[in-house]
């Protein structure tokens, strides 16, 4: 095994594979900044270019690109409040307020370093767990996956803020997200729900226009209303100086980063759990790990722990995602399904062969994840003080470029002009939510998980009737869900008692 591990490293460091990885990383860096063309879409666009490559070169190119896109997505999330990757929106919640407080460099340093730690943990998990993870994946049927989505939805309690009114608003927004997810053709009966006679709505609303509208447009409106730069009147000296502070934050809260990385790996391993769950669950875990309600109050206003958790989970998820893809040919996400196409193009068959005959190729993927992330973080760290200065540019100059980023991003996801109108509509709604104190994160969480929850519930009922409710693993997951819901209240009561 050690031989194969070293052989994998040498394969990646060969001139051809390494230079292709750098090309992939450069592409991933650029597209990671755009909300619409995410890592998965870029993989699809670049797939035709791998035909003439060897397997190691192809995976160095594709995985280098994919892992960097996941990391750089956080940059626009923090600087402008525009999620660079559809599934990496959780970083916006605390990262952008940090930028507004003049701590952009610190937030970016924390996001990058936690991403690196997450990527290494994800890669390590991939390296050691392929032979042992099979029973876990096979244990998870639709009832268990339904409960995982419910666990994700239960995180709303942690994302809603404190007090009865905040919780009420959080739950209402979570329900609205779930309701929005029901738009379009119902998969089992074929009934068209809330389509208003529009063919565009038959497939339901796409995540990217909703997400970008809800998160990015209110920030742009706020920037225009303030009439200042993003960092407002924060002292200039703080901007570039915070990078090392952000790096140190990663190690100050190291166990939080490790735990959130573990969340990312676990969610990544489960095929069908959806990549979007990982970041939000990690964010919710970061909120829950606050010492007391007063400490929890800091989240959403620019707490670095709210950047570290999602940052770590975002990249550890990539390693976790690869586990079922390589070991069983069961892709854990859309991006992995496309990568599966690359396996077939290369004449490789995911499964036992990848653990025996092609073990060195498998380990070359592990090394690609690690090396690509290390290089990205080093390159970004060198650029960070300059990137943070973007928050000093006056709003009137930067707003048209942000709008461009938002609308081009929304369009490129599906090439639908109607997506622009959806983005604008949700932007207006998101602005009103921000203004009247309705939390936006629960809506997105409900929307991301709604379709999955309904599908798994239907399959569970059709397959097992109500008997699935008594399955042992389902009961364990129910107990965990109850714990997630009750924990913030217990914490508040304990704090009051003290």
């Amino acid at each position: 095994m050690l031989d194969a591990l070293l052989q994998g490293l040498f394969l990646v460091l060969q001139w051809n594979a390494f230079s292709l990885m750098l090309v992939g990383m450069a592409l991933g860096f650029v597209v990671g900044l755009l909300p619409g063309i995410g890592g998965a879409a870029t993989l699809a666009l670049m797939l035709p270019f791998v035909f003439k490559m060897s397997p190691v070169e192809a995976f160095a190119f594709l995985l280098g690109m994919h892992s960097v896109a996941a990391t750089t997505g956080d940059i626009t999330s923090i600087l402008f409040g525009v999620p660079g990757e559809a599934l990496s929106a959780a970083t916006v919640v605390d990262g952008h307020p940090m930028a507004k407080n003049g701590e952009a460099a610190r937030a970016l340093g924390a996001a990058l370093m936690s991403s690196l730690v997450g990527a290494v943990i994800g890669a390590a998990a991939l390296a050691v767990s392929i032979p042992i993870v099979r029973p876990l994946v096979l244990t998870f049927g639709s009832p268990e996956l339904f409960m995982v989505t419910i666990m994700g939805i239960a995180c709303i309690t942690s994302l809603s803020g404190q007090g009865t009114s905040a919780q009420l608003k959080g739950f209402a927004m979570g329900l609205l997200g779930l309701l929005l997810a029901t738009i379009g053709q119902e998969r089992q009966s074929g009934i068209l729900r809330f389509d208003f006679g529009l063919i565009y709505l038959w497939e339901g609303l796409d995540l990217i226009p909703v997400l970008v509208g809800i998160f990015a447009i209110p920030e742009i409106i706020d920037l225009a209303a303030r009439g200042t730069a993003i960092a407002g009147n924060a002292p200039s000296a703080k901007l570039g100086a915070g990078v090392w502070e952000g790096i140190k934050d990663t190690f100050r809260h190291f166990w939080l980063v490790v735990r959130c990385s573990a969340v990312g790996v676990l969610v990544g391993i489960l095929p069908g759990a959806g990549g979007g769950v990982a970041q939000w669950m990690a964010y919710a875990h970061a909120v829950q790990s606050a010492k007391d309600p007063a400490d929890r109050e800091r989240f959403g206003k620019g707490d670095v722990r709210g950047v570290l958790g999602p940052g770590a989970a975002n990249n550890s998820k990539e390693g976790g995602d690869l586990i079922p893809t390589i070991a069983f040919g069961v892709p854990g996400s859309g991006a992995m399904a496309i990568l599966l196409g690359a396996f077939l193009i290369m004449g490789l068959h995911p499964g036992p062969e990848m653990l025996t005959k092609h073990l060195a190729v498998t380990y070359s993927m592990v090394w690609t994840l690690v090396i690509a992330n290390v290089i990205t973080v080093i390159a970004c760290l060198a650029l960070l003080p300059y990137l943070a200065l973007v928050t000093r540019i006056r709003g009137s100059l930067i707003i048209p470029f942000l709008l461009l980023l938002v609308f081009v991003g929304s369009y490129t996801a599906n090439r639908q002009l109607a997506d622009l109108l959806v983005t604008l509509g949700f932007g207006a709604v998101g602005y009103l939510m921000m203004r009247f104190g309705w939390p936006r994160a629960p809506l997105v969480l409900g929307f991301v998980l709604g379709k999955l929850a309904e599908t798994y519930l239907f399959i569970s009922m059709a397959r097992y009737g109500y008997a699935w409710l008594a399955q042992p693993l389902v009961l364990v997951l129910m107990a965990l869900t109850a714990l997630i819901i009750v924990f913030p209240y217990l914490q508040e009561r304990r704090s009051h008692a003290n």
Binding site: V30, L178, A224, P400, L404
Partner: protein
Amino acid sequence: MRISGAMAFSAGLAMVAAYAVLTALRWPPKAALFPLVTSIPLLVLAVVQMVTDWRALSASEDAPQETRAALGVLAWMAGFIALVFLLGFPLAVPLFIFGYLMIAGREPWLLSGALALAAWGAFHLLFEKLLHFPFDPGWLIGGGT
């Protein structure tokens, strides 16, 4: 009765939920289950929040300047979308950047022109040359799509 913005938002949410409930009641049980399970509690919560907002009416504050700024930016966004529908992205991008910087940003025309050109160059290089991304040509140029 005076209605605050917050109360109007809660009322709007309640109306959306009520519409969802009434619509879903007409569907077969399988298709209606999930929408009903979500929209009924949403209706209840929105009504509760509406009452809370009504009680807190005196404490609510209007921010006309913020509203004007918000409407201004939303109008620019709508304008950009209209340009994209009519001319397609490749032409709408430099026109929008130039127009916004000149009119809303009150920047000098030389800087506005240079930045619009730079935005168009970056857009053209990345999407058209590098990614070969097909953009709709716009109704005026492509004759409607």
